[in-house]
Symmetry: C2
Subunit: 273 residues, 2 copies
Amino acid sequence: MDLICYLNGQFIPLDSAGLPVGDLGIQRGYGIFDFVRVTNGRALFLDDHLERFYHSAEKMRLPVGRTKDELKEAIDRLIKQNQLPDAGLRILLTGGISPDGYQIVQPNLTIIQQPLAPPPAQLPSPYKLVTCEYQREMPEIKTTHYLMAVWLYPWMKEQGADDVLYRQNGFVSECPRSNFFIVTKDDRIVTPAANILRGITRKQILKVAAAHHLPIEEASISLGDLRLAREAFISSSTKRIIPVQQVDDISFHSNELSRRLFELLVEEEAASY
Amino acid sequence: MDLICYLNGQFIPLDSAGLPVGDLGIQRGYGIFDFVRVTNGRALFLDDHLERFYHSAEKMRLPVGRTKDELKEAIDRLIKQNQLPDAGLRILLTGGISPDGYQIVQPNLTIIQQPLAPPPAQLPSPYKLVTCEYQREMPEIKTTHYLMAVWLYPWMKEQGADDVLYRQNGFVSECPRSNFFIVTKDDRIVTPAANILRGITRKQILKVAAAHHLPIEEASISLGDLRLAREAFISSSTKRIIPVQQVDDISFHSNELSRRLFELLVEEEAASY
């Protein structure tokens, strides 16, 4: 069956859905989005994602033009009609056609749903990361600006790595699509506080760790801190937690807390249904 | 009459031209372009623009999939059929549909032609610029990444300015869509050498200045140099040269060399037909 998508209030076949070539999202890379995992036919932590989506839109001065309830209804209909119990939803707001190539008049709102493998039931195999000196612009806003991430992809593969970890001036921040955490020798879980996108899974981790009295804090992480860490992992909506076995020449041999947090996230997710 | 555009080898009505919502140019802001001014039905300095376009494509690992001659033929047909003697041509190459949201398989190539006021016959009224601490990513490549430029636009207007001049660590680089020049007290014309896009009009200015024995050089320009300068101007394909009367609190009262270079550019342009 053909998938449908949502475009400015209409439900149309995904295959035929296009944005006008003059859209600022195409011509000027001006757009924001959010990505929601659908598991067992439910959009997970949708309120959190929509809150972040509206925040991104406001910061970029892009009027959404629809209420959160209207978006939820549209998402419900996509999930029901597309019958993809395991999927990803991309809610995208682009600048739209502009009279002068700069002014925003009427953004285009698109929601697409596409198949996505369900997250692993167990903690997945560990990743190897390679660091790159880079700081995303406007990191706290989920813009469509992934130019560097896409550009670095072949280089990352050449290094035999699974993902890139951004660093700047001796401090690490995040991966292109994941947040980064370390576990210190004295069992504190630390994740960068600044220059990052505040991930929804990151938020869940902060919550479940606190609820289970696991020491966790948001603080800067230097390359020196990384070298002294006992464990490292990344988090994302699609995979929950992936342990990290290596960052550049630094190896990690434990994944005890990664596993514990993974299990707590599975419980948290089940409770959110 | 409806305008037509070029899309992957086809000529279709511009109003109906769209890119699939999954295109990496939309989802990940991954695309490059070039902009060519059409005057009296001729695409100006087209070879220079195409050379830069292919250079941008290669650096971003985006196969164009067409020869320069094929693009020239397509542009000829657009100009003939659209009958817009004064226009702008945007040649755009976006990442296309990706199986995993990262890998590039088959980029989409679009050429659109839109009406554009012809450049002024005389040196236009001077601009007021406002500086902003910013460095474009991959500045030598003409990507579609204008997120900051579009975002700064309302702020720039609030400052009563006509354009933004980027600076970083005490040195100025360029405006979002124009190159920047100063004239020193001893009549040397200076334009930044690094961290900029090499504009086609900038290239013409370097050429005509040298041909007429006007001292010109590519060198870094500090905010201190700017304060000591006698004259400042910007250059672009659409406007040729616009004199600058103010950058932040620094005023310029001369436009002698701006005017001279403007006249030389008009001659150069006529000679290029």
